[in-house]
Symmetry: C2
Subunit: 326 residues, 2 copies
Amino acid sequence: MIQKLIANIKKTNAPIVVGLDPMLSYIPESITKAAFAEYGETLEGAAEAIWQFNKKIVDAVYDLIPAVKPQIAMYEQYGLPGLAVFKRTVDYCQEKGLVVIGDVKRGDIGSTSAAYAAAHLGRVQVGSQLLTPFGEDFATVNPYLGTDGIKPFLDVCREEKKGIFVLVKTSNPSSGEFQDRLLINPSAETAAEDGFVSGKADSCKPLYEVVGEKVAEWAESCMGDDYSYVGAVVGATYPEMGKILRRVMPKSFILVPGYGAQGGKAKDLAPYFNEDGLGAIVNSSRGIIAAYRQEKYASFGADHFAEASRAAVVDMIKDINQALER
Amino acid sequence: MIQKLIANIKKTNAPIVVGLDPMLSYIPESITKAAFAEYGETLEGAAEAIWQFNKKIVDAVYDLIPAVKPQIAMYEQYGLPGLAVFKRTVDYCQEKGLVVIGDVKRGDIGSTSAAYAAAHLGRVQVGSQLLTPFGEDFATVNPYLGTDGIKPFLDVCREEKKGIFVLVKTSNPSSGEFQDRLLINPSAETAAEDGFVSGKADSCKPLYEVVGEKVAEWAESCMGDDYSYVGAVVGATYPEMGKILRRVMPKSFILVPGYGAQGGKAKDLAPYFNEDGLGAIVNSSRGIIAAYRQEKYASFGADHFAEASRAAVVDMIKDINQALER
């Protein structure tokens, strides 16, 4: 699937991904009204509104972009009907030729992580049948539990030629609380346990870099042609760290959230890419799917929200390619 | 809900929780056969088998225990029908008076974490209605993204009187990869950035302790009567760390996985409790729900798996209370 992602990026010349993270407040009233009229003010009604909204946006932008990233939390909050629309969105986007990155941030251990991997990337055995639960192409994964949590995903990635993006440095303001803390290198730990730490700063590294090194190790064990099935999430809001992490994880695609609405600028994104012009894919969610609510695209009007999204995609591609000078 | 958890523990004199983590391989053939006969070898068939299995176990043990902990991954892997049975299990256990800890290990940022919190602990607004998506009483949460990821859960906990257990030190073998790494204290970080680190070991702390300190801070901001709505997950397999973390997070209930099948022993669990005899709840999943497959309970036979589970619960309560001398 990493091959398909790369092929799609080359075809569209657009290293971007549209985050399908619908909030009911983004959805024009004409859509919610019709959905509530049919299903009532119920979870089913909310889910139907999201589906109609998603479908129109996907129809309007699919030829311009390589991939979409539905954020499952935005569906999960509408319970089972919400998750049914998550699945429907995954299927519909795949029919349109898009690579689907399930932003699920799952992570557990052993057989539990294996179950998540099967749920989102793999298949599950029921009697003599192998069935596909959600069937995304990539999934985002949380590394806090260590290799035990990641290995079951790697096994499924190899088997199904799917991929993961491991959270390394997230885009949010408080991501540094744990991720930026300096760790003492293992070689210095014995000294620390003996009561003293002393040495150069190169015996220290921030947690995100240590996680990045693990990602590089996992990536090596799970290679496609030029890039690995194992990528990483590194926020656009921390370009200095992005530069370091690009070097630490040379074979990994970097999924970059935080562009646009969260404050990340295109000019800062060049260091996330490799010299081959590949290696990163920049996400925008709100900035695209709720474009019609921005002053810049307000003239489209709520009923033409999908055209506003298309215009925002065109602008984003231009913005990023200019910054990359391509 | 922390009050209800405490009341249930006192009533049953059993600081334990049964993990409802069904694998198809645990389920006696008579159940899977009937489910497949009705629904085929489909996701619906698997989900029906899980439901029948869960229901019999809950019916057999609910009067002995304060709480259950369904692991959502085991349901998610059977797609939408699996998640429908997760919801059905949550509802059924609550009807039986049990506290339900959704082992969902969710965690994201801002509006996304708010969506997860609504999905599992809160309600969601649809038009003029406030609806309940999954409605567990507690949820497990991953701390890697920092306070931005936790705060939306705290808001919902306060509003709905629900609770969370934050992953601090997990029970798996590789949990130490990141969680045990020694961090330099912030006061020493400036020195490190200047090129040197030097000082006593008390200027270093493992990541799990730093996360534990954050949990204590979040817990203070979200108190019930004697205990906080904010608890922590600390594996039974690391009792030395459990002892430290008990002290670091005095107001937090500790959810303790890893007893039994994963190797944690009752005699090691006393330090996870406070002097009031409360403050911890020990989980067993496989050891209870698949008890009939152990030599010790094999005489029950597959058709009496639920009675075997009841016997295993009785033994577990005895084992833990003996170790706590109560």
